[in-house]
Amino acid sequence: MTATTSDNSADPQPRPSFDWITFLSRWGTLISLGLLIILFSIGRPEVFMTLRNMLNILNQVSILGMIAFGLTICLVVGLFDLSIGAMATFGGYFAARFLMELNVENGFAVVIVILVVLALAALIGMINGALIAYLGISAIVETLAMSFVATGIILGISGGRTVYATEIPEAFTIIGQGKIAGIPNPVLILLLLGFVLWVFLEHTQTGRNMYALGGNREASRLSGISFSRYALIAMAISGACAALGGLVAGANLGAGRPQGVGDVYLLNAFVAVFIGASTMKPGKFHILGTAVGVLLIGVINNGLSVMGVQTFWQYIVQGGILILALISASLNSVRRS
């Protein structure tokens, strides 16, 4: 018996075939992370797949991770923060400078200084948020401008001079160089920050309202959610996280450099967050996804250098994976429309 094709097309399909596009757009980045780890483990089993190297990878990405977590928050609200590079430099330099000027020695005072620096960074972030929300300025341009201003202020106050290790108390450098139970302090700080921000975004009303604003700003307004308030909070968190990252970088380095600290992290942080937005929950910025993005960058960089591959490959592989991640995410949305 033969059936005409036009008749068949109308039949509902009782058994839906496996949906590869949805599967890949959700799990593609995690799968590629797994594949890379397997690849590097086979390539250099004695070096790559060791506890030491794993902690090393985490330590290497911890600063990037802190900055990327902060950036995740403002991207959730739908705002780009390009000032995070400058804010990282800000945090690292001013923490060192204040400690030097005040000649602080004891641990408690160091904590106070750090909190003050983070509060200053949060304040600058709030200024960003206020300019964006109340004047309706584009976040990209405003934060870029603010990063120039911050860079200039740091250069002006520092006179271009680095604060050296001998001028900084050990209670500060230990933040970047010490370990607790064998785990480097920056990794612990990263995990703690990640957990706090994850709870904040996923389990508090403030976080949920931020997702709502990022999803549909007008619908949020009609549900009684004020954009300006959350823009201020998000930009403050982003600024403080970037400053924290820079501060830990400074402690790790044992120096307060007035330039070039944060610039390295700016683009990588965006890469990590956007890879994250194509992971597990396609199209949604979230902390777990960002963590995957950060890890992916760390594994690529560490793995390729452990394999003895030349540095330029790190850029190519990293860029390629980002493009693949974006393609898989867009496949899903293209089909939906």
Binding site: S6, S9, A10, P12, V199, H203, T204, Q205, T206, R208, N209, Y211, A212, G215, N216, E218, A219, S220, R221, L222, S223, G224, I225, S226, G283, K284, R336
Partner: protein, 524 residues
């Protein structure tokens, strides 16, 4: 009811002789067109023809198949069956380029113009611009643009920016572009949605000029009065099937409405309800904004009050003022006897007002989020574990989301399903349902049944009815005038920023609303 009774046809068209379409010549013939989508038959054996020099209206409810039909004609979709004939000859149209070659052009609702560019540049969009010595020859660009505009008889400077022009001029520029591409059949997809009555009038005048030059229009609209005003013939689709083709001689209001709605339609029945009119919930006094002036009325508990009017009449502005979307310049609102200040929607929500906006996708749905999150967002504060960190109690939130979706009979895989995977009707039930848990007593519903299917419409009507019976006060607006008669106890009709009249009970009819909205007076 006959065509002459339609108020918006203010007599001006009577002066212009009928263009007299050449009935022998069909320029566009649709023969047995069928379009099958997975699960739905969007077009089922549709046949009709457009004659040379005629304005042919294409009517039908949302989802009746109008858009699908247009997309099949212009090559955006390929039909599953049937033929499109141009001048009696079958043509294969599989792309917009084919449609252009066959002399068909579509002018979409949003006109596809670049607002920051000049009229001349927009008329040349997608074409190779004239050059001289390798550089663009601007004087030639403008000269050609002038020629095109002169052909359609439009007097607009070619250097003007699109953003400086009026909405009906946008429509004319789009039509001019179609004419310059030698289109003989111009499909207008709801061109008048953003237009005020006098702008519509000017657009129609220029369309009539073009029909005398032999161009034909297939004209999609929801506004029946306009159809009577301009169309030579009308074809009505319903549920993907041809429901009727009318010409001037048999084009009656009742006939067309019957063809659109269907005799068995759930819409046809007037919903008989009884209401308390005591217990004033909200008192609006002299409320005024930029586009509405001196609005006063009382809303009783359990009452459904309609706010009707054409775009720009002040009806929309009133809804916005009542929800604090726009600030009032004068007057005020009292709820339960206490004056309330509405500076933003947050104030309105705090005062117990709920709002369902007209444009669901742009203004109400939180995309890429779950049904649960879409339901609970405005009432999240009720499900917090503690007030400082504002941690949300997921168990209580889930319970609330389940309760609402069950009451609203939302059909979905589960509360964690993505809102984007739901049908329009179910999305709308989620949007309405989110206000059930905020404790709102006053519901502002702006076209709550826009772009939902007939079944969901009925469910939404039932819910509105239910809310009223529970003693909520409801302010209702719709782009589909017949809905006022189905839903409302009384209707305020707006014209020129003011209340032009109030209709109650049996007087709430589509023609009465139309008459008042068009600035006319009701027969005593």
């Amino acid at each position: 009811m006959t065509a002459q009774d339609i108020p918006a046809a203010s007599g001006s068209d009577a002066a212009i002789p009928a263009p007299g379409p050449d009935s022998a010549r069909e320029v566009l013939t649709i023969k047995g067109l069928t379009k099958q989508f997975p699960g739905t038959l969007a077009l089922d054996d549709v046949s009709f023809g457009v004659r040379q020099g005629e304005i042919h209206a294409l009517l039908g409810e949302n989802g009746a198949g109008k858009s699908t039909l247009i997309k099949c004609i212009c090559g955006a979709y390929s039909a599953t069956g049937g033929d499109v004939l141009i001048e009696g000859k079958p043509v294969q149209i599989t792309s917009p380029a084919d449609a252009g070659a066959a002399g068909i052009a579509v002018v979409h609702q949003h006109m596809n113009l670049v607002p920051t560019m000049s009229v001349a540049e927009n008329l040349h969009l997608g074409e190779k611009l004239p050059r001289r010595a390798g550089l663009l020859n601007w004087s030639e660009v403008h000269r050609r643009a002038r020629q095109v505009l002169d052909r359609v008889g439009v007097d607009i400077p070619t250097t003007a920016l699109i953003s400086e022009l009026r909405p009906e001029q946008h429509a004319m520029i789009s039509i001019a572009r179609a004419v310059s591409a030698e289109a003989r059949i111009i499909i207008l997809d709801e061109p008048t949605n953003a237009l005020l009555p006098h702008e519509v009038e000017r657009l129609f005048d220029q369309m009539r000029v073009l029909t005398r030059k032999g161009h034909s229009f297939l004209y999609v609209s929801h506004r029946l009065s306009e159809v009577f005003q301009i169309a030579d013939r009308a074809t009505v689709l319903r549920d993907g099937r041809l429901s009727g083709t009318f010409d001037r001689s048999n084009m009656t209001h009742a006939g067309i409405v019957g063809a659109i709605v269907g005799r068995d339609g759930a819409l046809a029945e007037r919903r008989v309800r009884s209401h308390s009119t005591d217990g004033t919930l909200m008192r609006v006094q002299d409320l005024s904004g930029r586009r509405a002036d001196g609005i006063s009325f009382d809303l009783a508990a359990g009452e459904i009050v309609g706010i009707a009017g054409l775009p720009g009449s002040g009806a929309d502005e009133t809804m916005n003022l009542l929800f604090g979307r726009r600030r009032s310049t004068r007057g005020g609102i009292e709820i339960d006897g206490k004056p309330v200040r509405l500076r933003d929607p947050g104030d309105a929500i705090a005062a117990g007002i709920a709002y369902v906006p007209r444009n669901r996708l742009a203004e109400a749905v939180f995309h890429a989020d779950s049904v649960r999150a879409n339901v609970t967002l405005p009432s999240l504060a009720k499900y917090l574990r503690e007030p400082i960190l504002r941690l949300v109690h997921r168990g209580r939130e889930d319970e609330a989301a389940r309760e609402v979706t069950e009451r609203m009979r939302v059909r979905m895989p589960g509360i964690e399903a993505s809102i984007d995977d739901l049908s329009g009707g179910n999305q709308q039930k989620v949007v309405l349902g989110r206000w059930l848990s905020t404790g709102a007593n006053i519901f502002l519903l702006n076209s709550p049944t826009a772009a939902v299917d007939v079944g969901a419409k009925k469910e939404i009507y039932d819910l509105i009815d239910e809310l009223a019976r529970e003693g909520k006060g409801i302010v209702f607006a719709s782009t589909e005038l017949e809905e006022y008669a189905l839903v409302c106890d009384r209707v305020f009709v707006f014209a020129a920023g003011r209340v032009a009249g109030e209709l109650r009970g049996e007087d709430v009819t589509e023609p009465n609303i139309m008459t008042l909205a068009a600035g006319g007076a009701l027969a005593a």
